[in-house]
Symmetry: C2
């Protein structure tokens, strides 16, 4: 590190040293070793701050950078040529953005900031070094990719099989729980930076039908969502509204 500082090509100091990363204190994230922390800190080449509404990645493009969300919300989506849009997932602090662009030669979805965001920037070219020198971090990246796959599977199942109220309840509950895990909730309330249109494009319904479904769900009193504040009143109740959950499918005996 000291060596790097002496180097001719000094670069602007990274805004947030990884050692002081606010995310490190969250229990969901594993602890880094000192070596890993040093490596990640050297890997990180800067920060990117963007205002809400800006595009972080465009489907089909490439980038020399790989990002991690330090703060704020974003969402990943694909659009068809006539404007139909499918929201794939939401990116919250700690999530990777743009791994596909680094691994393949182009990213399969667009990413847009929902709120003002701050992203940690990593140079794609150094990703290989991470794999060579830090198997633990390489494993973490695979872990993140696998979790992304897992979430997409749940969303696909929801969109393909569940009906309106179940589907909407599922997404709301899922988002809330993810946010809570990151300590983004105040009590059982949270500022949801998404519109009904985002929700509609997530569950695969028209905006109008999503609105009517929300009206129905609100009548149950499981949550309140007027304005940007979402309040989960009855978590168990909302979970029941999701209805049938994937069955753990008992491990059956042979024969």
């Amino acid at each position: 590190m000291a060596k790097a500082r002496k180097h001719a090509q000094t670069r602007a100091p990274v805004a947030t040293p990884c050692a002081h990363c606010p995310l490190r204190s969250i229990s969901t994230f594993r602890k880094f070793t000192a070596e890993e922390l040093a490596f990640v800190n050297a890997f990180k080449s800067g920060e990117l701050a963007l205002e809400a509404g800006n595009t972080i990645f465009s489907e089909g493009t490439n980038s020399p950078h790989l990002y991690t969300v330090l703060s704020g919300w974003a969402f990943k989506y694909k659009t068809l040529a006539d404007g139909r849009r499918q929201v794939l997932n939401f990116a919250l602090p700690g999530d990777f953005i743009g791994l596909q662009a680094s691994i393949f030669d182009s990213i399969g979805h667009s990413v847009e900031a929902l709120t003002d965001v701050v992203l940690c920037v990593f140079p794609r070219e150094k990703l290989w070094g991470l794999y060579e020198k830090h198997a633990g971090l390489a494993f973490d990246i695979t872990w993140l990719a696998a979790r992304e796959e897992s979430v997409l599977g749940e969303y696909l199942t929801s969109v393909g099989q569940r009906r309106a109220t179940e589907r909407v309840a599922f997404v709301l509950l899922h988002i809330f729980q993810r946010a809570r895990q990151l300590g983004l909730t105040k009590g059982n309330a949270i500022t949801l930076p998404i519109t009904q249109e985002h929700l509609a494009d997530t569950v695969g319904f028209s905006l109008v039908h999503t609105n009517k479904t929300l009206k129905q769900l609100r009548k149950t009193g499981a949550f309140k969502w007027t304005g940007p504040t979402f309040e989960l009143v009855d978590e168990r109740g909302l979970a029941d509204l999701v209805g049938l959950v994937p069955e753990p499918e008992a491990p059956r005996p042979l024969i």
Copy 2:
């Protein structure tokens, strides 16, 4: 390798040494270095042959093994408690099965053999060694996980946004193209080991409606699919039926 053979605990010789793996000659797969090949061969602990219809993985369970498809077809799916089923993807030769079970502590979907299959078996416990010693192979695993994510994103977009004919055409074309890439086609024909019910559960329609949609699609003459043989008559035509494809979203200029 020779050392392993001298070892007291000899094990049954692996049916297919990786050096002679029939998949290695397929151009889609990258070439292994000699070291990688040796490692993978040592990593592989055996083969598992299963008849069509058998369950390879059950959602929510775990396994000491990780598999790779050597031959045959399988499909990944999730089921809700009342039996509704969503097919997530199809597993063809070269595909990983059960990565989630190795990375998390349980797998998020079930996997079932569509045809008789032969799987290469790898012990989960040695996966970590792969990450430590072979960054290239570790990267490959991440690559596979990321591709899985990518495919799920496409399916989700299809189910969430496309209408009946587009949706069915998309899945048929996608399956055919994957199979062709693996050299599983004879001319433009292939033996599709799936029923209309599998297709219905993939696109998120009822069996009846899927059948009616197929009837409509058949009228276009883009393909023939009676019995197990699927024949792609007019690929361009079928691609047109898929309709709107994700837009490459031109990188727009600043300001």
